[in-house]
């Protein structure tokens, strides 16, 4: 069976111990995603399918895809983030928004704007104005994943960069770039970020395979940013009614 799959999905590029681990973790994520749908668990479930396949076939196409992702013309990584190893995965996402670079820069930099943009994924609270913020990942359970983040680059209308302060289990750094889009299309916005996965090399393998969970989070952040900038609000089915009651587990943008 696994040979057949391997033939179908490409040659093996994953070792055998890792394959067992992949199947186990993948099955768990899948099970959880189906039992209790949310953006997190659904994307994780999709990743889970990938992991099961990867384990079964010994081939990881996500790893390949990640390689392509990181090479598409993004400006060189910000100066900060010394604590992050060069091999840490880089996530990129782009969106065109019908507002000026200046307005978008201000909206992202404002604590209230940032709070709304990230509300699907983390609670962001200002510590020192817009410069230092506290991030706590939503739904991360009894072991909260959190960090303080500091602005490292502030170039009005062009770029904002940030990095986590030392002492978190998930060191990360990232930036957002603004450049003019053609004709009446507004501004091209690109986000990139990298994070150092916990558990060293094993964690690295897992988070590479899970690459598009962070990818989905990044692209969802940009979608929310765009809606907020263009319409003043973020689309939501929070409070949606159905035969299941109020609110919708699949709605990714509960919080505003």
């Amino acid at each position: 069976m696994s040979d057949l799959l391997a033939e179908k999905f490409g040659v093996q590029n994953v070792g055998s111990l890792e394959r067992v681990a992949s199947v186990a973790l993948g099955s768990f994520l899948l099970w959880r995603g189906i039992k209790k749908p949310s953006l997190w668990s659904i994307t994780a479930a999709v990743a889970g399918t990938g992991l099961v396949l990867r384990g079964a076939t010994g081939h990881c196409s996500v790893c390949e895809a990640m390689g392509i992702d990181t090479s598409d013309g993004m400006p060189v990584a910000a100066k900060s983030g010394k604590s992050i190893s060069p091999s840490a995965p880089e996530i990129v996402s782009a969106q065109t928004i019908g507002k000026s670079a200046g307005e978008l820069y201000e909206l992202w930099r404002s604590p209230e704007g940032l709070r709304q943009i990230m509300a699907h994924f983390a609670d962001v609270t200002p510590l020192e104005g817009p410069t230092v913020t506290h991030w706590k990942v939503k739904g991360s359970g009894p072991l909260p994943v959190e960090w303080d983040s500091e602005l490292t680059v502030e170039q009005p209308g062009q770029e904002l960069g940030w990095a986590s302060k030392p002492g978190t289990m998930l060191p990360n750094e990232g930036s957002v770039y603004f450049s003019p889009a053609p004709a009446d299309r507004g501004t091209e916005v690109r986000v990139r970020f990298r994070f150092e996965p916990p558990l060293g090399a094993a964690g690295m393998a897992i988070s590479k395979a899970l690459g598009f969970v962070p990818k989905a989070i990044a692209s969802e952040s940009l979608r929310r940013f765009k809606a907020l900038a263009e319409t003043g609000e973020i689309p939501t089915v929070a409070g949606n009614v159905s035969g299941r009651g109020v609110s919708d587990a699949l709605g990714v943008s509960h919080a505003q």
């Binding site: 765009k226 939501t236 929070a238 949606n240 035969g243």
Partner: protein
Amino acid sequence: MRALCWNGVNDLRVETVPDPKIVNARDCILRVTMSTTCGSDLHFIDGYLPTMRQGDVIGHEFMGEVIETGHEVKKIKIGDRVVVPSFVSCGDCWFCQHDLFSCCDNTNPNAQMQTPLLGYPTAGIYGYTHAFGGYAGSHAQYIRVPHADVDCFVVPEGLTDEQVVFLSDAAPTGYMGADFCNIHPGDTVAVWGCGGVGLMAQRSAYLMGASRVIAIDRFPERLAVAHDRIKAETINYAETPNVLEALREMTGGRGPDACIDAVGMEAHGTGMDYVYDRAKQAIRMETDRGTALRQAIMACRKGGNLSILGVYGLMDKFPIGVIINKGLTMRTAQQHGQKYVPKLLEHTVRGELDASFLATHRFSLEDSPKGYDMFKHKTDNILRAVFVP
């Protein structure tokens, strides 16, 4: 409130669900006064569209009275009687500003779910799968309408609900389909399907100056409506051995200048390719039966316009070579209702369009499952079932 919920393939039930509330500042709440069935609903009722969930409130073609508005709603007022297109559109993004309302960038809360299917997410729809946003639908006593100032159109005095409700979907879809045909004097437009959408496309083609309209279906009573009301010529494909030959003959050997598909993925057919599609669809190897669309492509004159309104999934055996070699222009979209509703209201006020004849059967919300059953099986000469909550 009471609402019609989807509970699985061919399992619709009226249930008690919570009342909707204002969530965002541009929202309003409508008391639904009339809501109707659409051919698109049949696709998920029959299980051909993914991402429905048990308990979803369905329905996307409706009108009502505004009973509550969010604090950013400026134009629409409590008490307004309005009609609402099926797609939720923000009015501010590049797509909305270029009249591509069903492609709105800012109204699908489940964009991450839809992007892998389409490459880019579309606007959200009421009551029409979670990939399309998961918004609660209109077969209910009340509905939440986001971006009220953009998506609610105030109904002029003197029109009945039956005249207006189809301006939510069937009429703008048909009108858009005719618009895609770039009609010139002397043109012949052939329309596959005499459901609500097809009949509206036929009437719109005349409004846009077509010289002849040819309607194709197999239900004699629907063809009779096309003939008597719309003044279209008709072909019953079940009784006509060769529809292509018939069309060629009727158009002096040229073929129709434009062909509109108002049938969609559950097309019925008589030939070999129907058997092939039916078998593949039954074992879920493909989602579509493409009989009508393939016929429209073959029938169209060289250099003509092909306008696709029927909804499809991922069809195989799509004759792209015919399109290329004959140099056809193909245009298609989910309806950009917000572009067309004002024009359609004007046509209705002037008496040039009266869609009320589509409302052949009227039900209370409690009886809506019966309405869908009749609509699906096309019994008792039904064109559309309308529900009055």
